[in-house]
């Protein structure tokens, strides 16, 4: 039985198969990821085969099929950030958190994502942590940022 929340969430898309991506976006925003149950509900409500829902959900990067960590750390790996050393920043994040991009860290606190260009190229390398944007990052600064997030203390996280 689909939970009442998800049925209400999908109300606007009922019986409209072409709204599949919008429906998935609503679910992703609300729950933080797309679960098996959500996909079944979407399949029923929109009239799309379950296979199609799964195909679409797995194709687009915006949708996470796994739950994500409490803090989403997105490292911009666009060209401008790359030539300024974004790869080292990303590697630092991966080794410090102990999880590959898209995965959730063991303590459930972090998920790293790499994004292709946030459009703040003049300030690269750019890292966003939840809603905040940090610029001119390097491995050392990121190390401090993640440490302070771990402590739950945001003082060290103000961008330099």
């Amino acid at each position: 039985m689909p939970s009442p929340t998800i049925t209400t969430l999908l109300e606007g898309h009922r019986s409209q198969p072409h709204q599949l991506i919008e429906a998935l976006q609503d679910v992703q925003k609300h729950y933080g990821y797309i679960s098996e149950d959500s996909m079944r509900s979407i399949s029923d409500e929109l009239g799309v085969s379950l296979m199609e829902v799964y195909s679409v959900a797995s194709f687009y990067k915006a949708f996470s099929l796994q739950p994500r960590g409490k803090n989403i750390i997105a490292v911009c790996t666009g060209t401008a950030c790359h030539v300024r050393g974004a790869k080292m920043v990303l590697n630092q994040a991966i080794s410090q958190i102990g999880a590959e991009p898209g995965e959730i860290s063991k303590d459930g606190l972090f998920t790293i994502e790499h994004v292709n260009c946030l459009g703040a190229c003049a300030l690269g390398p750019v890292v966003t942590e939840n809603e905040s944007v940090h610029h001119h990052m390097d491995p050392g600064k990121l190390r401090k940022l993640i440490k302070s997030l771990k402590k739950g203390d945001k003082e060290g996280a103000s961008h330099v």
């Binding site: 198969p17 072409h18 709204q19 599949l20 991506i21 919008e22 998935l24 976006q25 799309v48 199609e52 195909s55 679409v56 194709f59 687009y60 990067k61 915006a62 949708f63 790996t77 666009g78 060209t79 401008a80 790359h82 030539v83 300024r84 050393g85 080292m88 590697n91 630092q92 080794s95 410090q96 994004v115 292709n116 260009c117 946030l118 459009g119 703040a120 190229c121 003049a122 300030l123 690269g124 750019v126 944007v133 940090h134 610029h135 390097d138 491995p139 050392g140 600064k141 190390r143 961008h159």
Partner: protein, 619 residues
């Protein structure tokens, strides 16, 4: 300000005039950039503080604060311009707000320390138009960003917005509009460079009553953010262009497909659509004409390939973004198998001014075969990074040195990468080439969507090829063999080369494979996927050869081929690096020169960023 529906064309001019009168009453307008770049530098806090100070000094009624989209000079953000004198302040912080309001606004004095200092002359410059960065540009589209608050349709109308649409609906039958665009020689600004007029003509002639226009705002090229700034900063300009296009081809419905990673752009275009609907500029019988048109906003799901037109349409239909063969053009068989005109944000943005000023006005700018202006995202290793707009035909030199200000960090500039992952790298010797569709394509690169990343000698070109292949491998839809397996094998080979296992056969193999991918892939992504490799092989072959023959990376980037060492002469034994190293790879007692254990070193670079004496180097 009247907010009631504009029922007929006669209602537009009076509204505009009343808005202009309101503007003229103001003592000053403080324009602050609220684009994503400046927001990262806390421009929103500046805005709040300025508003507080204006209220405090009872200037709220006579001074307007206008939050705008990107001004382009991102390196200097947060950027503020005070009208009507055009005083330009940069690196403004919230703490400056009080002084700005009392000194500049109230007392008419300039605050020297907030002015831009020209690095060449050493002097400060008072107004925006005198700054070399802006002076060297030809800002037709971007200049509007300063004049409008994107969340205000009134601002857009005040500067003459929607008058081109009005002219179209009442003076120009659809065929004439198509003709104007054909004569303007406007070419697509999203990367393809296809003649826009021809596209519209074909769509107009395609059989069928139901047609669509689409705005492709799925700007996926990493390092490119031109479309974001136009859509965030001036959404009505794009809407007006789409409406003129819809009239021309016979469409009644339009879609704006915005990349998922641009929430502010989505917000602004949605608001623009709502505001236009309220005023009757979208909907039934616009301005009392027989033209009815409405727009839906769709968000991308996070897929670079959805920038390809057939993949975008599949995505709009709720499917995976897999391109399909285009043996029949999308202008005949497109969205829902109906005739569809899909154009890029910047292409649509150029349309209103072509209608307003005429096709010969547009065609008088730019170069042969590449008319008009192009917005470029100039980034990388140069002093002035940001968004610039130039007449097509200006040379790369003009852009990189004239506007970009040349190298930063004192390192020599080596190359410029244009056109994103579908484009290529051009060496310094080719910087006299014009920014022109055909010239750059002939040289093995392309103008593409306008991304221009400048690279200095600290960039390894083999690494650049590897970077783009990694990106494309992730983004390929995977349907066709030459793209999916071709990119995979190319990346395998380039990785071998970057790790010192390259052989002399590899270069020929890369070129052969590249030719196969370019000729036989199903869509544009696959067809251009080999460009980064092919262009770096063409112009930087020696770097590949050094990696292969000498197993060295001249730029000091490829991790397998470099070692981190501590310069004994510079080391002050402070121990900072040792404490910072997460892998315990640095040894050294107090007052003893430290050293790095090569076996433990993971080359993460933390020690180098911690050392304050520049004692850690890459060999």
């Amino acid at each position: 300000m009247s907010k009631s529906r504009l029922k007929t064309i006669k209602d537009l001019a009076p509204l505009r005039n009343s808005l202009i009168k309101e503007r003229e009453k103001l003592r000053a307008t403080i324009v602050i950039c609220g684009g994503t770049g400046c927001q990262a530098s806390r421009s929103l806090a500046v805005i709040d503080e300025v508003k507080k100070q204006l209220a405090k000094h009872k200037l709220k009624k006579s001074v307007n604060v206008r939050t705008t989209g990107c001004h382009g000079f991102c390196e200097q953000g947060p950027v503020m311009v005070i009208e009507p004198d055009e005083i330009f302040y940069c690196h403004v912080s919230p703490d400056d707000a009080a002084e700005i309001v009392t000194k500049t606004i109230r007392d008419g004095e300039i605050i020297e320390r907030l002015l831009y200092t020209d690095p060449v002359s050493g002097k400060t410059i008072k107004t925006e138009s005198e700054i070399p960065f802006y002076l060297a540009q030809d800002r037709y589209l971007l200049a509007q960003n300063r004049q409008v608050n994107p969340c205000s349709i009134e601002d857009y109308i005040a500067i003459g917005g929607y008058s081109a649409l009005a002219k179209t609906l009442f003076e120009l039958p659809p065929e004439s509009v198509v003709k104007e665009i054909v004569n303007s020689e406007l070419r697509g600004r999203g990367g393809g460079g296809f003649p826009t007029g021809r596209k519209w003509a074909e769509c107009r002639e395609a059989p069928g009553d139901e047609k669509y226009v689409i705005c492709n705002a799925d700007e996926g090229d990493p390092g490119a953010y031109m479309d974001r700034c136009v859509l965030e900063g001036n959404p009505h300009l794009v809407l007006e262009g789409m409406m003129i296009g819809a009239w021309a081809v016979g469409a009644r419905k339009g879609y704006v497909y915005v990349r998922n990673e641009y929430p502010l752009a989505v917000k602004h275009i949605q608001l623009a659509v709502e505001q236009a609907r309220k005023l009757g500029i979208l909907g039934e019988n616009i301005f009392g004409s027989p033209f009815s048109f409405d727009v839906d906003i769709a968000r991308g799901g996070g897929a670079f390939v959805c920038g390809e037109s057939t993949a975008l349409m599949a995505s709009l239909e709720g499917k995976v973004g897999e391109p399909r063969p285009k043996d029949v053009h999308t202008v005949v068989d497109g969205l829902w198998h109906k005739p569809t005109t899909l154009n890029n944000v910047e292409t649509w943005a150029n349309v209103p001014s072509i209608i307003k000023n005429g096709s010969s006005w547009f065609a008088s700018k730019g170069a042969k075969g590449s008319k008009g202006t192009k917005i470029l995202a100039l980034t990388g290793h140069i002093k002035n990074t940001g968004l610039v707009e130039v007449e097509m035909g200006k040379s790369i030199n003009d852009v990189v040195f004239g506007i970009g200000g040349g190298a930063t960090n004192g390192k020599a500039i080596k190359a410029v990468q244009t056109g994103g992952p579908s484009g290529g790298c051009l060496p310094v010797e080719k910087f006299d080439l014009p920014v022109d569709f055909d010239a750059l394509a002939d040289a093995g690169s392309m103008v593409g969507s306008g991304g221009m990343v400048v690279m200095d000698e600290s960039t390894c070109m083999v690494d650049v090829a590897k970077y783009f292949l990694t990106f494309l491998q992730d983004e390929s839809c995977g349907k066709c063999v030459p793209c999916r397996l071709g990119i995979d094998r190319m990346l395998e080979i380039v990785t071998e080369i970057s790790e010192g296992r390259g052989t002399s056969d590899h270069i020929e193999l890369l070129e052969d494979l590249g030719d196969t991918m370019s000729t036989t892939s199903l869509c544009g992504l696959g067809k251009t996927a080999a460009n980064p490799v092919l262009s770096t092989l063409r112009y930087f072959r020696d770097e590949y050869e050094t990696h292969i023959n000498e197993k060295k990376c001249p730029a000091g980037v490829c991790q397998a081929l470099i070692t981190y060492i501590i310069d004994e002469e510079k080391c002050t034994c402070c121990g900072l690096c040792k404490r910072a190293c997460p892998h315990n790879a640095i040894a050294g007692k107090k007052k003893q020169v430290h050293s790095i254990d090569v076996d433990l070193c993971q080359k993460c670079g933390i020690c180098m960023s911690e050392c304050k004496f520049d004692a850690i180097q890459i060999q």
